[in-house]
């Protein structure tokens, strides 16, 4: 099949290119974080696209599930995962007992410390990352459900029972919200070890471990458990499971000590819980 010669770089095509680039740059400037004048337009167009998306999901979900079934799970892997989960659960329970013992000891010292129960809202994950550069999820609960920007999001653990921190709300629309995963680079949360040491866990990007800072406890070692510290102005309530320490390197001359942790949350969960606690201003 032969194709005719097409018009190449003409003044008109350069003018069109300049116009399109100018439009794109204008959109970028208008959509800079914190300004948001285009949010209503984006939300309206997103809502218009929703029926097409729902239809596509209905058609393609079985294909996706079939793919996962064919290539994602075999019997051996299932058995291995079950054993790992049991082991993790046992270790987690033991660490939890230690943490609670430490907590009781602390509480006996400070009588006015209270652990308040938080209301939560269950939401379904309607979309994962849509391209290679995105590290967010979309859930089907928004401002009409009491969701606010900055609220904490928790989900089930990848291994074992119980909940774990998944991330925080980064954008809110009327019927949906965007969740920024705790593995994203600019997400940082306060953590506490089972021995009571306090520090911060900062994301390093998708598929990479969290980096733990400000904990100088020299006995901190791989396998230690981390919970949210819930300190004043923290957007995360206390005692939510975050993950386990996977790597501790000693400080040598000129190089700081590095502590890494694996997030415990199942990043592929279908359902999440949003903690309806007023985020700090």
């Amino acid at each position: 099949m032969a194709y005719s010669r097409r018009p190449s770089r003409t003044p008109r095509s350069r003018f069109t290119l300049a116009l399109l680039l100018l439009t794109a740059v204008t959109l970028l400037v208008l959509d800079l974080p914190g300004t948001g004048p285009l949010d209503p337009v984006r939300n309206a167009l997103g809502a218009a696209f929703r029926p097409f998306r729902a239809a596509g999901n209905a058609v393609f979900e079985p294909i996706s599930n079939g793919w996962k079934g064919a290539f994602g799970y075999d019997d051996l892997r299932d058995e291995n995962e079950q054993l790992k989960a049991q082991l993790e659960e046992r270790k987690s329970e033991e660490a939890d007992v230690k943490r609670l013992q430490q907590k009781v000891a602390d509480l006996s010292k400070i009588n006015d410390v209270r652990v308040e129960q938080q209301k939560t809202r269950v939401a379904e994950v309607v979309s994962g990352p849509l391209n290679s550069f995105e590290q967010t999820l979309e859930i089907d609960a928004g401002s009409s459900d009491g969701i606010k920007k900055g609220m904490a999001v928790i989900t089930g653990r990848a291994r074992g029972k119980g909940g774990a921190v998944l991330g925080r709300i980064s954008e809110v629309r009327s019927g949906s919200s965007t969740v920024q995963l705790l593995t994203e680079v600019d997400v940082s949360i306060g953590v506490r070890t089972q021995k009571g040491d306090i520090g911060t866990a900062t994301g390093q990007g998708q598929g990479k471990p969290l980096v733990i800072e400000s904990i100088d406890e020299p006995t901190l070692s791989p396998g230690d458990y981390l919970w949210t510290s819930g300190l004043d102005r923290s957007r995360f309530p206390a005692d939510l499971y975050v993950g386990r320490v996977t790597k501790v390197t000693k400080a040598v001359e000129g190089v700081e000590r590095v502590v890494e942790a694996e997030p415990a949350a199942d990043l592929t969960s279908r359902y999440v819980r949003v903690v309806l606690r007023e985020p700090p201003k």
């Binding site: 770089r9 970028l28 696209f49 097409f52 849509l130 550069f133």
Partner: protein
């Protein structure tokens, strides 16, 4: 050129990307059908239409992404135009031309996206390895190139062009 047909192709591609292709990932890298549209439009329709289709594909993808509005539009417009300009004198009778151009254009598009995103403060370089993104997107788009090429050739000719076939050229 039939703009309603082009709009339909962009919409179908967006639905496929959001509901099907984004579910498949390797080491966190996901296929990107929208950049394929920009590349093949540049290749089949020339730089000007490549830029227009690239902009339409990018801005519609931006609406559903959480990245800043205009980021994909900017990158895909440049890629659509650049591919059209670079392949203007190319002989396109070879059956390998479309897959090769799709792979090269998509790879360049992913690199440019990561670079522009990083300049704008987006975490585009902190996620999955850029090498795995480039390889996966280039490979998938090389396979899908003939399909996208046929769709865009269909969009190039509207009813008026059919009645007056010589004017279509």
């Amino acid at each position: 050129m039939s703009w309603p047909r082009t709009a339909l192709i962009v919409l179908v591609a967006l639905v496929l990307q959001v509901t099907l292709l984004s579910r498949f990932s390797y080491e966190g890298a996901r296929p990107d059908l929208m950049i394929l549209l920009a590349v093949m439009a540049g290749f089949r329709l020339g730089p000007e239409r490549g830029a227009i289709v690239g902009f339409a594909a990018g801005v519609s993808f931006d609406i559903v992404l959480s990245t800043p509005l205009g980021l994909s539009a900017l990158v895909y417009t440049i890629i659509g135009y650049a591919v059209g300009a670079a392949t203007a004198g190319m002989v396109r009778t070879s059956r390998w031309a479309a897959p090769v151009v799709a792979a090269a254009g998509s790879a360049a598009g992913m690199l440019l996206y990561a670079l522009v995103g990083a300049v704008l403060g987006e975490p585009t370089l902190s996620g999955p390895s850029l090498a795995s993104i480039v390889v996966l997107v280039a490979a998938v788009n090389a396979v899908l190139a003939p399909l996208a090429s046929r769709a865009l050739v269909w969009a190039r000719t509207d009813e008026r062009d059919r009645r007056q076939p010589f004017l279509a050229r």
